[in-house]
Amino acid sequence: MNQTQKLPNMSDFTLQALNVAIGSIAFEREALMLRIKSVSAEVEDEEQLSEQVLLIDRTLSEFHDEYDALRGNSTTYPSFEEVIAEGARSARATFEGK
């Protein structure tokens, strides 16, 4: 490491971890939404896909504040909405090839 390069502080690590977690949850949410569209009501019911989405929405509401608070006015990391959109885009690319 270049001696003049600053080591990231703990909040950078936390923000990075949260960024990854939120992106991953958004990916999972979109994957669930795609599955809901493609399976029968019986399968949806059996796998409780809708309940999983609601639980994710509750979790994301709580993460939103944490992320914004750590990110502050920094432009190094994308906004919460951008992280969500990227997670969803990534899920669509994975499962639909879009």
Binding site: D45, E51, D57, I84
Partner: protein
């Protein structure tokens, strides 16, 4: 029987955390939506009393309640650090509802985490297998309940989660009654 008086303890927790703008106990701040699983026999404003398992882990009960001996039927061995109790037959839930006056719901004392109350959202997700109901903005909030917005953001693309939280300890029957009163002007979507 004298009416129960409710404290500002939960409100003060929000104020202390500089989140006072997310606490409501007079009228609902926005249109709120409640989804109920299609085909479910549960009442619209019935919180999840007994948890269940989802693929990723347990869906814990919405609120924690205990009987006169301080025991909760919601967790194995009445220990909230152990596994959630399950109720595939629905018998346990029916028993709890039939004896709701014997259980004391724990008042909400946090701004995030488990057992805070019943979920509401500021928008519907029509793709889900839920029937959605609309609680108008400015609906009167019954005295034992607070509505909390669980994010600072006022508008996002995804639904914002709100909680109908018990303000203080009260009987489960009173909490359920107040939840029903909250939905007095509810309309199907």
């Amino acid at each position: 029987m004298p009416q129960q008086q409710f404290t500002d303890d939960l409100k003060n927790i929000y104020i202390a955390a500089d989140k006072g703008g997310r606490f409501f106990d007079k009228t609902t701040p926005v249109v709120l939506f409640r989804g109920i699983k299609r085909g479910s026999s549960a009442g619209l404003m019935q919180p999840t009393l007994i948890g269940f398992h989802l693929k990723k882990g347990p869906r814990k009960p919405d609120v924690l309640f205990r009987d006169g001996q301080g025991k909760t039927p919601q967790y194995e061995d009445s220990d909230i650090n152990r596994a959630i109790a399950l109720d595939e037959s629905g018998d346990l839930t029916r028993h709890i509802l039939a004896n709701a006056g014997d259980y004391i719901v724990q008042g909400c004392r946090t701004i995030k985490g488990d057992h805070r109350g019943m979920s509401l959202f500021d928008k519907v997700n029509p793709a889900l297998s839920f029937k959605w109901y609309r609680i108008p903005a400015n609906s009167k909030i019954p005295p034992g309940i607070a509505i909390t917005r669980d994010a600072d953001a006022l508008h996002t693309e995804l639904p914002i989660h709100y909680t109908a939280a018990p303000k203080d300890n009260m009987t489960l029957s009173l909490f359920l009654q107040h939840l029903k009163e909250l939905a007095i002007d509810v309309q199907p979507v």
